[in-house]
Amino acid sequence: MSLLEKLDAAASARIAQLPSGLGAFGIPIEEIYSPTEARIGTKRILLLGTNNYLGLSFSPECRKAAHEAIDQEGTGTTGSRMANGNYSGHRALEMEFADFYQCRSCIVFTTGYQANLGTISGLIGPGDVALIDGDSHASIYDGCVLSGADIIRFRHNDVIDLEKRLRRLGERSKNTLIIVEGIYSMLGDQAPLADIVRLKKAYNSTLLLDEAHSLGVLGETGQGLAEKYGLIGEVDFITGTFSKSLCGIGGYCVSNHPQLDQLRYVSHPYIFTASPSPATIAATRAALKLLKNGRELRERLWENARQLYSHLQALGYQVSPEPGPIVATILDSPQQALALWKGLLENGIYVNLILPPAAPEGKSLVRCSVNAAHTTKQIEYVCEVFSRLYSSIIQ
């Protein structure tokens, strides 16, 4: 098969799964009105499938900061942090993140994807081991592949399985980076962090926690899962993204290890890419302030999450293992998932459709995510539509 034929084959496999009339490259959003509403085609749609957990995408403070940065510093940096792209805003944001986590240092990356690529491939190399949760995000897999280290998976959120694999590694456990996520993006479940920390200490391994979906969502001040368990000081490296609760684009790694800064010299995903634009950095700095002081937003988010979760569960849907902003319904077949997803869209609700092999263990998911800007009325409407669709699709 030629290179281009291979692409055609992959595309037709994907298109075969999609309902007719839907683009293979994702739903086109024509206009975006607010953190919860947009226009798709000619229809006003309720957004229930974003990562905008605190609903900050239209925050006046963040918009103002971005506008000012564009006026003062221009639209782009046109260069790497290691060359001409190292502005005072980038350094200030790093200090603010380090201060937020009470950690020694922070590195800002251009995306969250690159934060994982750059941190993982800088920390481990050929001969070392990456011991990763089986449901890890692609950026974690790709970072491990880039590193050249031996990649070993353990069963999702299963600490007994993790320990078995650590034990098997023998002496190599000392050169092992264990990688887990605060909240897993598909089912919205949380890592059993206290047990994982216990194991990483017992086996002298190093632990990296990706708080992409838990930043702003978990913990008293929104630091994430590590804060929820009071374990910030026990996790070696925390990575995360600006693209979800902070409504920007970019990523970070924080750590108490003084060696973190050395990554700047060796990490290609940090060096060989342009630094985030001034507007991105300014908006993210403003968003981080709102996030830190965002207890009310978090309460609102969790109220919405609990309301949707308990309602869908009561209706008889098979839902995520635990309540949280990501509420996934697990369907018996891709056809059923597709029908539910289509039914929701016809009723003006956008959610994420996840079909095998993208979903864990060959499941088909209709994945909702709520945010702090959703009103009780909006959530009630969603519950009502799910209720109507249950009798026509599930039963």
Binding site: G134, A149, I152, R153, R165, L169, P357
Partner: protein, 85 residues
């Protein structure tokens, strides 16, 4: 401990892989995992975890880049098992 040989590993693999495959397909050591068995990446990764547990070895995913046939996988498991002793 009972010594393992490549034949035993091949037999076990054929058994496990049969559950993924079209029942009409005869699985031989030369069966191509991807083109003939059409095993998707998640199933393959889960099979690797089962093999790790069965043989009490670590099978790094990066070692799979050279694995094309059932025999390649058996050889890899055999080599890792010998190395682990």
């Amino acid at each position: 401990m009972v010594d393992i040989n490549q034949e035993d590993i091949l037999r076990l693999l054929a058994q496990r892989l049969a559950s993924f495959a079209n029942p009409e397909l005869e699985i031989t050591p030369d069966t191509n995992l991807i083109t003939q068995l059409a095993i998707d990446s998640i199933k393959l990764l889960n099979l690797i975890m089962e093999l790790e547990d069965h043989f009490d070895i670590s099978i790094p995913l990066n070692a799979l880049t050279d694995v094309v046939t059932v025999r390649d996988l058996a050889n890899l498991v055999y080599k890792l098992k010998l190395d682990s002793k």
